[in-house]
Amino acid sequence: MIRLNKKQKITIFRITISSVLLVTALLLSDEIARIIFYIASYLVIGYEVLLKSFRNILHGDVFDENFLMSIATIGAFAIKEYPEAVAVMLFYETGEFFQEYAVEKSRKSITDLMDIRPDHANVVSEDGITLVNPEKVKVGDIILVKPGERVPLDGIVIEGESALDMSSLTGESLPVDIKLSDTVLSGSINIYGMFKLQVEKPYEESTVAKILELVENTSSKKAKTERIITRFSRFYTPIVVISAVILAVVPPLVLGYSWKDWIYRALVFLVVSCPCALVLSVPLSFFSALGAASKNGILVKGGSYLEALAKTKAVIFDKTGTLTKGIFKVTAIHPERLSSYELLEIAAAAESYSDHPISKSLQQEYMEQIEKSRISEIREIAGHGIKAVIDGRRVSVGNEKLMEMDSVKWNHCDLEGTIVHVAVEDEYMGHIIISDEIKKDASKSVKELEKIGITDISMLTGDSKSAAYHIASQAGIKKVAYSLLPHEKTDYVLKKLDSMKDKEKLVFVGDGINDAPVLAGADIGVSMGLLGSQSAIEASDAVIMDDLPSKVPLLIRLSKKTMRIAKQNMAFAISVKLIVLIAGAAGLASLWSAVFADVGVSLIAVLNAIRLLRKNI
C-alpha cells in the first residue's frame, strides 16, 4: 500500500460528496430541487475537468480529453439526461482515480527498485567523520559504512566484517559475507556490521553510477509496438470526434430523425474518444517488464529489446566467463628441458602485462613478483598468444597456432583445459594446462531454452577443440565453434544472422572481454555481469548482473509474456471501444457502457500490465 497524497484524498472526498448528492437527487420528487442537486453533484466532481478543458480550449486544443468529456456531459444535460450526465463524470473521475493509483503504485515499486543512488559517504579523516556527497569522494579515501547504509562507492574492506544485501544489484536475496580485503560493490546494503572501505574508483566509474546510467537511458528507446499505438491514437481521437459531429447533425437534418436520440448517440462517441487505455497500457507493460527484469538482476536497455527478445530463434553463448566461471587455475605443468618452476616463471613473466584471465592464473600460481625490467618488446598476437624478450631471450607463450607460426615442434597433451605452450628461441620448452570450471546453471540454461522452443544453441570460443568440447558436452550444447579469433566470432555471428529470417532474432551472450563487437553485432547482445568491461556494457542491450546464464531463458520468457500482455491489452481496448462505437451508432449503447469502455478498460489494462511485476516469470 502506498499512502494517498493530498490530491488523492481530495478526490476521494469529492467522489463521496458527489455520490451523496446524486443519490439525494434521485430520491427527490420535486423537479427543480432534483436539477439543482444534479448540477451540484456534477460541479463537485467535474469542476476540475471543466477548468482544464476551458484552459486547453484557449490553446485551441479541441481534441483534449477534458474538453471532450465536458462536451459529452454538458450535452447530456442539454438533452435532459441528468443522471447520466452526472454519472458519466463521476465514473470518469473514479476510474481515473483508480487508474492513477495503480500506475503510481507500479511506478513506485519500479523506481524504488532502481533507486540505488547513495546519498552520502562517511569519509574518515583525522578530524573525524564527515558526510560527503559520493561524487566528491576521491580514490584512496577511507569511508565508514554503518549498518543499514548503502555502500556509496566501490572499494576494498580495510577494517571490519559484515554481510551485504546485494539484491538491488544482482536480484539475489541471499546475503553475501564480507571480510578484510574483500572487494565491495557500491549499491549493496550493509546488513549488520560496521566496516571501513578504501575507495577504489571515483563515483562516475563505480557500479552504482554504471547501473543508474543504464537505467536512466532505457526510457528513450521506445518499442515499435509503443510507437504504433501512439500513432494510432493520434488518428483515433479526431476520427471518433468527427464521426460524433456527423452522427449528431446529419441524420436529424437530412432524414428528419429525432435530435435527442442522435445527439445521445454522438455523446456516446465523445465519451469513448479518448485513447488512454491504449496509450497507457502498452508502455506500462514494457515499463513493468523492465522493472521485473531488474528485480531479477537483469538490466534491459529498453522496451524495443524486449520486443526483439520475444522473437529469439537462436542463442549463441561465448564460453569463457559466460558458460564457465572464468576463473582459471593452473592444473598441470609439463616441462621439457627445464624445471616446472622455470617454465612457469617464463610463462608468468611473458603474460605479466596482460589482464587476460589466463595471465592472472599464471601470476597466481607463480606467486612471486616479476621484475618488470627483465621483460621487453612485448607483442600480443590476438588469438595466438604473446611474444616477448625475457632476460635477453626471445620467448613465445601461447597456443599451438603460435607454435606453428614460429615453426616450433610442440607436444600434444591429453588433459582437458587450455594449453599454454612455451618456446624459448624457437625451441619447445613444454606446456602449462589451465582449466576453467563450468557454471552450475549452464546446462539448466540450455534445457530451459529448449523448453521454450529455442533449439538453435551454439557455443563459441577462442580455446582449443578439446577445451571447447569439454565444456559444451557438460552444458548440453551440440553446435560448437572453437579456436576462433575475436574477429572470427563476429564473422560467425554475422553469417548466422544472414541465414536467419528478418523476424527471427539472434541473441549473443558474452562476458565482454574481447567480444564487444560481437555483442553489438547480434540482434540482442547480452553481457555478463558488472564486472565485465565498460565497453561491453555499452555495446550490449541487456546486462545480467549476477553472471548466471540461466537468466537468459528467464529474460526470453519475460519478453514473451510482456508481448502477450501488451497484445492482450491492445486487442481488449480496441475491441471494446469498437463494439461500443458500433452499438452506440446503432442506438444500442448507453453512456454508462461508454464510460466503462473508456476508464473501465484502461483500468483493466493497467492491472493486466502490472501482472508482470509479480514474482514468477
Binding site: S219, S220, C274, C276, V279, L280
Partner: protein, 71 residues
Amino acid sequence: MKITYRIDNLDCPSCADKIERKITKIAGIKEAHVNYLTKKVFIVSDVTDNEAAIKKAEKIIRQYAGDFEIE
C-alpha cells in the same frame, strides 16, 4: 544542450504524446521525449544555449503538466 525536466501533474498518457509532438516542432529543438511513466521530459536543443526554443518548450510543458523541476 540536453535538459531533463521532472513533471508531477501529467494527466493522461496521450498528453505526454502531445507535449512530445509540440516540443519537437519548435525550431531549435532537435529531440524531445516525454515519458509518462517516469514523469520525465527530455529535450535536446540544437545549439548549446538556445534560450528562445527552451522557453517555448517550457511553456508547453507548463500548459499540460503544470510546474516542473529541472534535473
